[in-house]
């Protein structure tokens, strides 16, 4: 970095009010003498002014926001458990789905010889019906993610899930549409078989975590308690990220924090304690 570049970084800090008095004085002295840095200072100022210029908000913005908020409030009030249920369902459906994939890929489902469960495009093993029922068609939304697809949030109402299960079962039992049951497996799974992986990022860098017992992981990420106020934690190291793409294309991100005594799950600033202990969590991955 040249001397001028160092001053230009200080100029940026000066515009943000982040300089010490000594730094401020030094910058002022420099730009008084250096045309180039003074020009940069002026350019940065103009840039900030344009960036900060507020646009007119849409006329219906406030009304739309409040409509959304009030709808959420009604949904929450209707079922005090729904928040945790949905949250748990998100993790569970996602992970359970991968279990299903593992079964399909590894032929681990006993007594399913009638199912061609060995390859991408396989029929769904009945044992994994619930897992797949809500996810068929959902994989299409995933292009390059190494993640499972969760749709239970998209159809968060239990009834919708039940309907979906019923529909899947009827399809499997020879109902209409059985020809279209092949599961479009996302490419990464094909590449990574026979191991099953779940996409995870650590703050120290990307990493793929092989998950051996996904069903156990799904259970582990259920909330420690089914109802109650949102959990709070001082845990600041949410260094494991699970990314979940819903059927509707919505990307959800769960952050996992493992402390000495508890496992916490965070999403959008909300935190709940998970059912599992740190040892149990560690044992399943």
């Amino acid at each position: 970095m040249t001397v001028c570049e160092k001053y230009q970084e200080l100029i940026s800090g000066m515009l943000d009010g982040e300089l010490t008095e000594a730094e401020y004085t030094a910058v002022q002295a420099h730009i008084a003498l250096c045309d180039r840095c003074r020009a940069m200072y002026e350019a940065f100022m103009e840039l900030d002014a344009v960036l900060a210029e507020a646009e007119e908000v849409p006329a219906a913005l406030h009304e739309n926001i409040m409509t959304g908020v009030k709808s959420a409030a009604v949904a929450k009030k209707r079922s005090g458990k729904i928040y945790y249920f949905r949250r748990a369902a998100a993790a569970a459906a996602c992970l359970v789905l991968v279990v299903g994939a593992a079964f399909a890929a590894k032929e681990l489902v006993p007594g399913r010889s009638e199912m061609d469960a060995a390859a991408p495009g396989a029929m769904v093993p009945t044992g994994a019906t619930e897992m797949y029922s809500a996810t068929i068609g959902g994989y299409g939304a995933v292009e390059d993610a190494d993640v499972c697809v969760n749709t239970s949030i998209a159809m968060a109402e239990e009834k919708a899930i039940e309907d979906s299960v019923m529909e899947s079962q009827s399809v499997q039992s020879g109902g209409a549409g059985s020809d279209s049951l092949p599961i479009p497996m996302p490419e990464p799974w094909g590449k990574k078989d026979p191991s099953v992986w779940i996409s995870a990022r650590r703050s120290s860098g990307s990493a793929m975590i092989p998950v051996i017992d996904l069903d156990a992981l799904a259970q582990a990420l259920l909330p420690a308690q089914e109802n109650g106020t949102m959990g709070e934690t001082d845990c600041s190291n949410f260094d494991i990220t699970l990314e979940i793409t819903q059927k509707d294309g919505v990307l959800r991100t769960l952050h996992i924090c493992v402390t000495d005594s508890q496992v916490f799950v965070e999403e959008d600033g909300s935190v709940y304690p998970a059912a599992c202990t740190p040892a149990e969590f560690a044992a399943i991955k």
Binding site: Q8, E46, H62
Partner: protein
């Protein structure tokens, strides 16, 4: 609408207790900034409006988990950033040019021939700025906008994004410089087309 810290905490407590009017006050106080932050991040008004609604719905759902240790606006801008980054990732149409999101990656600095004094006319600047913002990686755009629109301090940004202050300072500078370079180059091109090349300050 500007609230004092005391007013904000009082309204927050009411909202956390389920008072919808109190939450609406929070919306009134922050919706314009949230919309503008989303607009700069996403580049179009329709998406920004959707994002703003999503931000406040998420904030409402998570309100009880907010302990009031930071300013409410900082928390809302963090949610806004997350919502926008998720939307951009879903769209997958963001073209990252030379700003790399990889930690430690060096940003190409403007060439010596760049003269920052040559900026396009202000009337064009906003349009070109929107384009230029798209050329920044999500990480650099987010951090610059949290500062320039959200008004967050380096410390608040560092806390929000789990970065150290040195990284925040460096990224903001590099993002600013990159934008100034792009806008300066656009101006040069425009001047050349108009046969006004060389009229540089």
């Amino acid at each position: 609408m500007q609230m004092t810290r005391e007013e904000e905490l009082r309204i927050l407590q009411k909202a956390q207790a389920g008072d919808m009017d109190a939450f609406e006050t929070i919306v009134y106080a922050n919706e314009k900034a949230v919309f503008n932050l989303a607009l700069r991040q996403l580049g179009n008004r329709e998406d920004a409006e959707d994002a703003a609604q999503e931000v406040f719905v998420k904030a409402y759902s998570a309100l009880k988990s907010f302990r009031g240790e930071s300013k409410l606006s900082v928390w809302l801008y963090r949610i806004t950033s997350n919502v926008c980054v998720d939307m951009l990732r879903r769209r997958r149409d963001t073209v990252s040019l030379s700003l790399e999101a990889e930690e430690g990656a060096e940003l190409d600095l403007p060439s010596d021939s760049f003269d920052p004094a040559v900026l396009v006319e202000r009337s064009d600047l906003k349009v070109q700025l929107a384009q230029a913002l798209k050329s920044l990686s999500d990480d650099y755009r987010e951090i610059l906008l949290l500062r320039a629109i959200g008004g967050l301090s380096y410390e608040e940004i560092a806390e929000t994004l789990s970065l150290d202050i040195g990284t925040v300072k460096s990224r903001i500078f590099r993002a600013r410089k990159k934008l100034a370079e792009i806008l300066g180059n656009n101006s040069e091109n425009t001047s050349s087309k108009d046969g006004k090349g060389g009229a540089r300050a």
